[in-house]
Amino acid sequence: MNKIFEQFGTHRHAALILLMLLLAVVLPLGLDIFRLNLIGKYLSYSFVAVGLVMLWGYGGILSLGQGVYFGLGGYCMAMFLKLEASDPVSTKIQTTPGIPDFMDWNQITALPLLWQPFRHLPLALLAVVLVPGLLAFVLGVAMFKRRVSGVYFAIMTQAVALILSVLIIGQQGYTGGVNGITDLKTLLGWDIRTDRAHYILYFVNVALLGLVILGCQWIQQSKLGTLLLAMRDKEDRVRFSGYDVASFRTFVFCLAAALAAIGGAMFTLQVGFMSPSFVGIVPSIELVIFTAIGGRMSLIGAVYGTLLVNLGKTYFSESFPDLWLFLMAALFIGVVMAFPDGLAGIYSARIRPWLLNRRGIQAASSVTQAGNPARP
């Protein structure tokens, strides 16, 4: 352990390396592909949780509508995959072959203009990040420029989630409605349903998550990160110092949206469909819970939080199908009561001082590290 700490300077890097070791080595060796695929699904949620650490923990902006961006990213990916799965040969029993099956059921006879760009993978991949990013930008500018923040902002994000889910469900000819976009098969001819593909997608997911966390850590350490913290705690002082608070807030909101969208796209690839059940209010709040359980100041903690909650959900519902909701509630209440700063709080309040004591280093020397308990 000492060596790792010395070599990489801060415990933050060590924590990331430990996480990556766990995800990229321990879990693939210890789990069969079915369970690993489930972990991959959970990790796709953790992109949202990481984004929320930046937005909520650092930026002090609570969004209760991150499911919107997760969903949009997922839908952009799903639209490309669905078009590829709906080639004229495999859809020849339809009235109009070559368009997605749900369009045919809704008496649409030609591919809508909205869908045209999604014939091309590069455009679809761009859309995964740009569509949610753009929506977040528009909302961010509209609200932060008017200095809407706090509870009012949270309510607005909920309204957006509600509007979008009603829109997706209502426009079923264009979106697949309640069913979502299902039966996705290949990515450029590569069958994404095989075990091999699931392994590859899992590692792509882990690598992306690692990169995203590194990027966010870099932002946290930069002047930008300091400014975000300052804005969270004393908004007026930052404004009077000549900084444009609204722009910084818009930036971090767009960042969180783009991260959530990457997660959504990875979800679609690994699970094989996308449905509006992620876009609503309840799943959006669930995503905030993942972050809260992990610790809202800790990027790494957010990943562990997401894993813990979802593993709990899967384990409890498989083992106690009649009781599992109560057990989940007990888990939430337990963590929040015992560790108000989430899992990361356990680490920085208990484990880290103990580790440091053992090594004879003054715990006080690194109080300023960002993995600390959240300031109110």
Binding site: G177, N179, G180, G272, S275, S317, E318, W324
Partner: protein, 418 residues
């Protein structure tokens, strides 16, 4: 060493006697069974969870969340059928063990759990799903992992899979005959179509409109859809009052149902003034809506709890004995009850649990003990079944007022209705 003591000898002989007696008993008990119980290696060549004395199946419904109220009846009926099958000696001499999973009214969870049942537990069959969305979410998984799904709900059709047996009606079975009945018996010429806004009502109403306009030469005077969970039908009621249709043809589901019928009654649209035919109200829904709000309206189903044939009397008695005298049985509950029986018959016909063989043996399977009377599986894995019209009573039950004379052929891809 030279000779055994008498004591030892007696012990020895006693033990031999006991052993031989035991083996005799074992042989005797195994002998008749032996002919019935084919060796596991023979009936299970694809690594399913089939042991010498036990076969594992899965059950995947929403026990929690918004759909739980609808799916509970299916869970109960499937469990009842499996209990009865076990009491009869199981399937191919093996007791049926159930692994229950909760889809939690969430489609991705359905996908996750179905994969768990197929990949992890290697279940021989799965009885489950209720909404179309949950079926669409699991279908690719069943096709890829080659599982067998028994799906109980009446649904929109437009689907057919080797890996699914649809024990409910597809749309044309529920709609065409009932529209003809309305035209011939009730002299209905104009229809107002109302549905919740998702794939099943949309497809059903598309079929209904084509049938009314092209085949009956009748008129559709209105077609309206409302979001799932919508509870305000005032503007709709005004439109109905203006359009004055002979028949309101409704496929409103879930919580909206309660508001819909209460508001109709409050607006004075009751059965003595207005005929209403619904595709989505069974005894289960009637419980929530309240019989007094429904009395006199018609429902098109293949099964009603009030059917008086002997099969149904036995089924209702067994169901109420297990789940209490207040429990009600709706159309889907009965269809769910058929699932395990069809699977049992197909396995026995195939002489194997292998999914491919079971799927191949499924067409032509008959269920003579079906509470709805008699059903037969079509080549397309849907059921031949009768259509019935029930008139709602104030106590939440339905009085059967019409029944199709013949079994109606399932036709999930109806020509001329697309």
């Amino acid at each position: 060493m030279q000779s055994k003591s008498p004591d030892q000898a007696r012990k020895f002989s006693a033990r031999t006697l006991l052993c031989s007696a035991l083996s005799l008993v074992l042989l005797a008990s195994a002998q008749p069974g032996f002919a019935d119980v084919p060796p596991t290696a023979k009936v299970n060549t694809t690594g399913l969870a089939v042991a010498d004395t036990e076969v594992t199946v899965g059950q995947l419904h929403s026990a929690t969340g918004t759909m739980a109220i609808s799916e509970t009846g299916s869970i109960q009926a499937e469990q009842l059928a499996i209990d009865q099958i076990n009491a009869m000696g199981g399937v191919l001499g093996r007791k049926v063990k159930v692994i229950k999973e909760d889809g939690a009214s969430d489609w991705p969870t359905f996908a996750e759990k179905s994969k768990k049942l197929l990949v992890n537990d290697h279940v021989a069959a799965v009885f489950g799903c209720w909404t179309s969305a949950s079926r669409k979410a699991v279908l690719p998984i069943f096709e890829k992992e080659n599982g067998m799904l028994y799906y109980p709900t009446f649904y929109e059709g437009l689907e057919q899979s080797k890996n699914v047996v649809y024990t409910g009606q597809e749309a044309t079975q529920q709609i065409l005959w009932s529209l003809d009945w309305a035209k011939n018996e009730k002299k209905a010429k104009s229809f107002f179509l109302i549905g919740s806004d998702y794939i099943w009502p949309r497809t059903s109403m598309k079929i209904a409109r084509k049938h009314i306009e092209n085949f009956q030469k009748g008129k559709v005077v209105g077609e309206e859809y409302y979001p799932l969970g919508n509870t305000n039908f005032n503007s709709l009621i005004n439109k109905i009052k203006i359009a004055k249709p002979d028949v309101i043809f409704a496929a409103v589901v879930g919580g909206s149902n309660v508001a819909f019928y209460k508001q109709l009654k409050a607006a004075g649209i009751t059965a003595d003034k207005q005929m209403l035919l619904t595709l989505s109200v069974t005894e289960d829904e009637a419980l929530g809506i309240g019989g007094e709000n429904l009395a006199g309206f018609y429902s098109s189903m293949k099964y009603f709890e009030s059917l008086t044939n002997d099969n149904n009397k036995k089924f209702v008695a067994a169901f109420k004995a297990k789940y209490g005298p207040k429990s009600v049985i709706g159309d889907v509950t009965q269809a769910a009850y058929l699932g395990p029986w069809i699977w049992k018959a197909a396995v026995e016909k195939a002489g194997s649990f292998d999914v491919d063989k079971v799927a191949a043996a499924t067409p032509g399977i008959e269920v003579k003990i079906a509470p709805e009377g008699y059903v037969k599986v079509h080549q397309n894995h849907h059921l031949w079944s009768k259509a019935r019209i029930g008139m709602a009573q104030a106590d939440g039950q339905f009085k059967v007022v019409a029944e199709s004379p013949e079994l109606i052929e399932p036709n999930p891809f109806p020509k001329g209705y697309q």
